[in-house]
Amino acid sequence: MHFSIQNILFLLVAVAGFGLFAWQVRKVRANILVGRDRDMSGNVSERLNKTLLVAFGQQKMFKRITPALLHLIVYVGFIVINVEVIEIMIDGLFGTHRALSFLGPLYSLLVGTNEVLGALVIVAVAAFWWRRNVGGVRRFTGPELRMWPKLDANIILYVEVILMVALFTMNAADLKLHQLEGAELPGAFPISSLLTGLLPSSVGALEVLERVGWWAHIVGILCFLNYLPSSKHFHIIMAFPNVYYSRLVPQGQFSNVDSITHEVKAMMDPSYQVPAPATNPDGSAMAPTPFGAKDVDDLAWTNLLNAYSCTECGRCTSVCPANLTGKLLSPRKIIMDTRDRVEEKYNSPLIFQPNLYGTEAKHAGQEVLDKETHTLLRGYVTPEELWACTTCNACVEACPVNINPLESIIEMRRFLVLEESAAPNSLNVMFSNIENNGAPWAFSPSDRFNWADDLFVTEKA
């Protein structure tokens, strides 16, 4: 152990880094909890199973094999490199050097795997960069993926390369130092051993390089950690709770609004006892909640959790029949709007202004409303987008982290219909047909059996 000023410095940096991160996470949590309450308890084993398969196991990624393999490299690399981060933390705090090397052969395996994965990560990141910026993959375009979201996606790729370069600098310099001293460095270094030739041969320079690599790696990781809450890359954390709390019922099953159930029951049966409305803790009546959702706080907290888990990959939009045929609807945009809006309304708690892709895209095709009075519905999401949805569930099926854009769409449709009576006219005609004739078309109920007319003639005669 060589306890020094470096260790104290490291302690301060680490505390600041994790402290800032915890502060940001608390704000995000508060933002999510502005959503309506929804009981998601129970079914623990089923939920854990799902989390294991979809979040850890990347099950839904494998519908598209190229990005799945590239993503898997970065993902596994990220997990394995965390072992190295643990070692760096220990070394940084206690002035040890390669504290985990007592693991012997296992340590060699870990470090060796790490190096190979690190090299593969650089290759994967290059491929990702190509697909996103040159390769013309359709789902990486679209109005909601301009400006910050585009930059965000690239920033993370650059940061990953920087982190890997720092790692290799540290290892290669350390290796060469040991070689010069004729000592054995514990671990296996399949990649760094190829790089030692590129490094200077002076001990002083190598010592500096090793420290620079070490500090760059750990400070880089702490910066990355604090960048996450502002970025779509928050999904590397949020995907887990999001998948855990995903819906377990059939995708076709929409929620039944309870308050309406009480009303309808009371209408049909005058003796029905409507449960007393919920009260505030002080006993006063709570403000009535609107039907459906006009703004983010009318959505369920799970919908807001969705918004913080979105990777902006566009798999949802790329399978959306409305979007495919040129309509304004993009399920990805609905999810991104939700996150932007919750941070606008409840103060962006984050370091960067997240997600924003520019007002011109956000308000495409409609008048921009007053910034003070606008809401998620109309301020961000237009009725035209909502009415284009066929409720086909393709977006839900496609999302690799089990986000459900359809649920938010239906909640906003409910607000349009039940609170504003703002359905397209032809739908209002359909509603009144159901009310008057018991069918969405203008046919008389007495004609309901006509299909059988000529069918049983022979038998009945």
Binding site: F254, G326, L418, G438
Partner: protein, 286 residues
């Protein structure tokens, strides 16, 4: 149903006809075909006739939760009045709503879509299909309806039914969980589409025609299909032979038929419901 109840009899199943099955001229033929199958196999069934009323699905998808629940409660009351336990329907929207959304409102039934029901009849040997009859060797592609497939995970039953026809089945590029909507769900059936480049049913029909024609170039040109995960490309055929798009939903029927007309292929391509195919193969012509 009222007649049966009056006679003190209980049906094995309630056949829920649905609004499209009762009023849509094209889908009435499907209703008839299905009833003929029921008669043929001697299942004791009943229909509600004039006591049936919309399940409320289009109202619910359009956001009119109030109207939906009014319809649902009314239907549940009717079901309870007759002690209904088992419901079969040819409409995936009715199926989904009664199966998944009625229980929370107090209506619990065993609900079966007719594709599953037909599959059971075939498996039990109650419908023989005699080697496919006139469909033997014809090229058929199945269009998954969203409310059967993704909404309720029923992908194999309709394919099993078609397999019994001994036809030349081809898959579209987007099928099963990746299937493309016909464009009518979510109450789109009752309104004009929002402005865009194309109507959804046209896109889907193009895909179906490409699969039926074995046209690889047309397949490659489809919007937004990212990876080549389709089955083996069928051998090309000259667009003159008769091919079939099989559906199992009244809305898909309308949308795909309109799409075929839009592409001016109604002479060579026909749209049929599973029940029609089975009834015809059994020689029960409606």
């Amino acid at each position: 149903m009222a007649n049966l109840a009056a006679a003190g009899e209980e049906p094995e199943i309630l056949f829920w006809v649905g609004c499209a099955g009762a009023f849509d001229d094209r889908y009435k033929r499907v209703t008839r075909a299905f009833v003929q199958i029921l008669e043929h196999v001697g299942v004791k069934y009943a229909v509600l006739g004039m006591e049936e009323t919309c399940t409320g699905d289009p109202a619910k998808r359009a956001g009119n939760e109030f109207l939906f629940q009014m319809q649902a409660m009314q239907n549940i009351t009717t079901f309870e009045g007759y002690g209904i336990k088992k419901i079969v329907t040819a409409c995936p929207h009715c199926f989904n709503t009664i199966k998944n959304e009625y229980p929370a409102l107090g209506g619990n039934y065993e609900v079966i879509h007719h594709s599953t029901f037909l599959q059971q009849l075939i498996n039990e040997g109650r419908v023989g299909v005699s080697g496919g009859g006139e469909f033997k060797g014809q090229r058929i592609t199945f269009h998954d309806s969203c409310y059967l497939g993704r909404a309720n995970n029923i992908y194999e039953a309709p394919r099993d039914v078609l397999a019994a026809l001994d036809a030349d089945l081809v898959e579209m590029k987007r099928s099963k969980a990746n299937g493309l909507c016909c464009g009518a769900g979510g109450a789109q059936m009752w309104k004009e589409p929002e402005p865009g480049k194309k109507d959804i049913n046209v896109e889907r029909t193009e895909e179906a025609l490409a699969a039926l024609d074995g046209n690889a170039a047309a397949l490659a040109n489809l919007n937004g299909v990212e990876s080549g995960n389709a089955g083996a490309t069928p051998a090309p055929r000259n667009g003159q032979q008769r091919s079939i798009i099989a559906v199992s939903c009244p809305f898909c029927m309308t949308m795909m038929s309109d799409g075929v007309k839009n592409k001016e292929r109604e002479n060579s391509v026909q749209v049929f419901d599973l029940a029609e195919l089975i009834a015809t193969a059994e020689g029960l012509n409606a």
